[in-house]
């Protein structure tokens, strides 16, 4: 969710500023002179990034598709972007400005700085030897208020675009009136490290990860946030440092000393960074640091924080200390200068990665040092429950697991992390097809509780039959009094036939559209108001299937007597055959008579109705939609679900780069390219 805050902020800001001017090179407008070097240097290296991400929601990892921006920073295909764009992606595809699409892999990600590096799969290009354009970092320390800058990226997932503005602030931080949670990404307080370059070049959701470029064509920042009409970019010097670490090691190593620094209180004499908190068991606590101390010197640097803007540089100083180094730290305490020796520890993530345990119906996280401390736990052993699926095995347990519970034992065996839970469960359920009842010990706040979870696959959805009732295969409207008068009919009650379905009982009986039915099996049809719409269908439904009934009809002003044999209705939609493809992530069903009666499907269209398209699934990426009629797959007709299954299975066996779907949408038809990642499906 935290990630959404950041994205939402960018969206909000973009909306607020949409009145400002923006120019796209594709618009073909003449560009200002100052834009040319920037365009020439960076624009060709801009990428639009499509990702599939998964976020925990009610005990499931819900997939969704998102878009962001990035810039190519090396000839061998490294691209820098935001962590919140690509850091948790399960599938990444990049569009270059010339329209070429290249798949990419995550190299490393750093939620604290909100920076990620991905690498283009150059060997999958049509022309692997084609040179890539590369953007270069500038020195963000040289950026001044008033400088002209260009925000480049893909606002709202549009193709690569440029907006222009000036630097408004070189050390933008979040105002204290905004909740700190607004800028937490995966639990990490981004604002503790980053002071953004504030500017008024419009950015929008989709610009995230795109470069902020100076008039020399250098990247001086990576756009990340928006507040009202103000945009914020992460300074390039920090981005460059983080990107180099990620490219070299796939991760960023940082130090942790366990203090909570804050600016000096108003009216406090002297200088220094106020120690607001010292976490128990931390390096700072071990070194003797106390709440209320003022840190005046850290290592070789004098430090001071009179205002909040001065905290990120101090935090950066501490975080960038080599892990395990012993640092002399001077503090002012009761008017005395005291030197402490702090040996730093490696900083670990604020929270573990979200993982779905499907057989449990929960999403969980490993405990980290900080999340264990927040839960007031003595160590990091155990598995933190984040979300529980209603009605799933854990949601159905008595007592049910809840978000915030910490699982400590499964089947009477202690579990230290998600991996060990998986291992224990594998052993407990090995060879069993039915659900397996497992004793689970968990801790809820101070309580040590037990429950039994029946682990296993979800039961299939029930497929109830629909009650079968007699049907005539026609549609009617009520013969209202004004209608009867206008039609010069003596009768004032009855129904008028509006549709006769081909091949059904009504047509067999000789009914025609426009006939007025006065009596049904000798009984008057007591319908004369529009609200009596259900009277006639209800009369039919109360008869047994197969019964012969008389129909007293007025046709073109003359009485006609007909006899109809009532039939079972066509199979309801719920009873039709379905094909669910769990790999390509869509469900289709045979076409129903109702689809054609309603006009949703033209009479001459043969195919299957797309009933479900999984969010973030391969079919959705191909823009397949619920309601599409799938006419063919790779050119082979799919008139029913049996043929669809056969054709799709053949296509999956072939593992081609793409599967071409031909669909009908109303009066329109379209070819769609479905490009599954076979390796991921195989995994």
């Amino acid at each position: 969710m935290q990630r959404l805050w950041a994205i939402g902020l960018a969206v909000l800001m973009g909306l607020a500023g949409c009145g400002q001017s923006s120019r796209s090179t594709e618009a073909g407008e003449p560009l200002g002179k100052e834009l040319d070097p920037a365009i020439a240097a960076v624009y060709p290296a801009l990428v639009r990034i499509w990702v599939v991400m998964a976020m925990p929601q009610e005990g499931r990892m819900q997939k969704f598709q998102a878009a962001g921006s990035g810039a190519i920073i090396s000839a061998d295909g490294y691209v820098v972007t935001n962590h919140h764009v690509a850091g948790d992606a399960t599938d990444i595809r990049c569009d270059l400005p010339d329209g070429e699409r290249i798949e990419a892999d995550l190299v490393g990600t750093d939620p604290l700085a909100d920076i990620a590096v991905i690498k283009l799969r150059l060997n999958s290009r049509r022309d692997p030897n084609k040179q890539l354009s590369v953007a270069h970092f500038g020195d963000s320390n040289q950026v001044r208020v008033g400088d002209t800058v260009f925000a480049m990226g893909s606002p709202a997932a549009l193709s690569q675009s440029v907006t222009k503005g000036i630097v408004s602030n070189t050390r933008l931080i979040l105002p204290v009136i905004l909740p700190e949670e607004m800028m937490r990404i995966d639990g990490e307080p981004v604002g503790s490290l980053v002071r953004w370059i504030g500017h008024d070049a419009i950015i929008y959701g989709g610009n995230s990860g795109g470069p902020l470029v100076n008039t020399h064509g250098e990247m001086v920042g990576i756009n990340e946030i928006g507040l009202a009409t103000m945009s914020g970019a992460i300074p390039s010097n920090l981005v460059k440092e983080v990107a180099q670490d990620l490219m070299a090691r796939g991760t960023v190593q940082r130090s942790w000393i366990g203090i909570e620094p804050q600016p000096r209180l108003r009216g406090t004499a002297g200088k220094g960074v106020l120690v607001g908190g010292v976490l128990k068991g931390s390096p700072a606590a071990s070194a003797g640091m106390r709440v209320g101390d003022f840190i005046t010197r850290y290592g070789e640097s004098d430090v001071d924080a009179e205002i909040a803007e001065e905290l990120p540089p101090f935090n950066r100083l501490v975080l960038s200390t080599p892990v395990g180094a012993t640092v002399p730290v001077h503090v002012q305490r009761d008017g005395r200068d005291i030197e402490l020796k702090i040996t730093t520890a490696a900083r670990t993530p604020m929270q573990g990665k979200d993982v779905e345990l499907k057989s449990w119906g929960i999403t969980v996280r490993d405990l980290t040092r900080m999340s264990a401390m927040e839960k007031k736990r003595p160590d990091e052993r155990g598995v933190l429950v984040f979300g529980v699926r209603p009605g799933g095995p854990s949601g159905d347990a008595k007592p049910a697991l809840q978000g915030g519970d910490v699982i400590v034992k499964v089947g009477e065996r202690a579990v230290k992390d998600v991996q060990s839970v998986r291992q224990v469960v594998r052993e407990l359920v090995a060879g069993k097809k039915a659900r397996t009842a497992v004793l689970v010990e968990f801790e809820r706040e101070k309580e040590k509780m037990l429950t039994v979870v029946e682990l296993g696959d979800d039961p299939d959805a029930d497929k109830p039959a629909e009650a079968r009732k007699a049907d005539l295969g026609i549609k009617t409207q009520v013969l209202t009094r004004p209608l009867a008068q206008a039609m010069h009919l003596e009768a004032r009650k009855g129904v008028r036939v509006t549709v006769v379905i081909a091949g059904r009982a009504g047509q067999k009986a000789g009914l025609k559209a426009g006939d007025v039915i006065m009596k049904f099996d000798g009984s008057e049809i007591a319908a004369s108001e529009p609200t009596d719409l259900e009277v006639f269908p209800e009369m039919i439904r109360r008869y047994p299937i197969g019964k012969e009934v008389s129909l007293e009809v007025i046709r073109e002003g003359k009485p006609v007597m007909l006899t109809a044999k009532l039939e079972a209705p066509p199979p309801p939609v719920a009873d039709l055959k379905r094909y669910e493809d769990k790999d390509l992530e869509f469900t289709a069903r045979d076409l129903a008579t109702e689809d054609r009666i309603s006009g949703d499907v033209e009479d001459d269209v043969r195919g299957v109705m797309i009933e479900k398209v999984e969010n973030g699934g391969w079919a959705q990426l191909a823009t397949l939609r619920v309601g599409d009629v799938l006419i063919s797959v790779d050119g082979k007709p799919t008139p029913d679900t049996a043929m669809l299954q056969k054709t799709v299975e053949e296509a999956k066996k072939a593992r081609g780069r793409q599967i071409v779907l031909f669909v009908s949408r109303g009066i329109h038809t379209q070819f769609l390219e479905l490009e599954p990642n076979w390796e991921m499906i195989h995994d």
Binding site: E58, R389, P390, G391, G392, G395, D396, D458, P459, D460, A461, D462, P464, A465, E466, A467, R468, K469, A526, D532, E534, V535, P537, E538, M539, R541, R542, E611, K612, V613, E614, N615, Q620, T623, L624, R625, V626, G627, D628
Partner: protein
């Protein structure tokens, strides 16, 4: 003379009051008798519902656990519930209809799984949703006789027979309905006396009653089975919106379906 008239009037009032009190007392006694006799046949039915909403080709699922009241109508455990209590997609579709047009169509579907019968003694029996009749707002659930609990109980469920249910009531008469309270109230059997607001004869016979619980058995004041309660949701009123339309809909939302009509549909479960 005048004082005698007043005394007579008072006596008459007292007699009327006593009569009314006596009548209430009789109905209450009958209600308690019905609870004693049929309470165990009124069960809780739980299920997991997944409602899928599709808009502009995109779909989103919402999963929830629902509990509703059910009436066991056969010793085999065949149980009738109100279909609307587990599938609200028709109501949601009607409510969202004004927002739809040719360009933006919404589609709602509900899948049901994990159905369980929770009996009066707390025993939970896995079950399946076997038949639905959205037209009458009925659904039929059968216990899984292959399950551990199902094996023990096969053919021995406390039930209310729908056979011979030809009882009828007139407008303004009382009916007695049974129900099951929720988990917070230990799922106790509940009983309430409802007034017949109207008797509808077309398009089919229905007894409209004041607020009650759908899926429960309803009895006449003298203890004869009248039918099963269900909801008649006027989707047109929901679509057109407006307070007046909604109030009208609320006035006629709960009905008692005659027992023989329910039995007629229930026959299809065996088929």
């Amino acid at each position: 003379m005048k004082s005698k008239a007043i005394l007579n009037l008072m006596a008459a009032v007292l007699l009327i009051w006593a009569g009314a009190a006596h009548g209430d007392d009789v109905t209450a006694r009958m209600a308690r008798e019905l609870v004693r006799k049929h309470g165990n046949a009124v069960v809780t039915v739980s299920a997991v519902t997944k409602t899928k909403m599709s808009v502009l080709g995109q779909s989103q699922d919402q999963e929830q656990k629902v509990e509703t009241v059910g009436t066991v109508i056969d010793p085999s455990g065949l149980t009738v519930i109100a279909y609307s209590s587990i599938d609200s997609s028709a109501v949601m579709a009607a409510m969202m209809k004004p927002m739809q047009n040719d360009q933006m169509k919404m589609d709602f579907k509900t899948e049901v799984s994990g159905v369980k019968l929770r009996l009066a003694d707390g025993t939970e029996v896995p079950a399946k949703l076997k038949l639905k009749d959205p037209d009458l707002d009925l659904a039929f659930v059968v216990p899984d006789d292959a399950s551990e609990e199902g094996k023990k109980l096969a053919g021995k469920y406390a039930s209310i027979s729908l056979d011979g249910g030809a009882a009828t009531v007139e407008q303004a008469e009382n009916v007695i309905t049974l129900g099951r309270l929720g988990a917070a109230m230990d799922r106790q059997v509940s009983v309430s006396m409802e007034r017949v607001v109207a008797v509808v004869s077309k398009p089919r016979l229905l007894f409209v009653v004041s607020m009650t619980e759908a899926g429960a058995p309803a009895f006449t004041a003298d203890g004869k089975l009248l039918g099963i309660t269900a909801m008649r949701i006027d989707t047109a009123a929901l679509t057109s919106g407006g307070i007046t339309a909604s109030m009208k809909m609320l006035q006629s939302m709960f009905v008692v379906l005659p027992a023989k009509d329910v039995a007629e549909v229930a026959k299809q479960v065996a088929k």
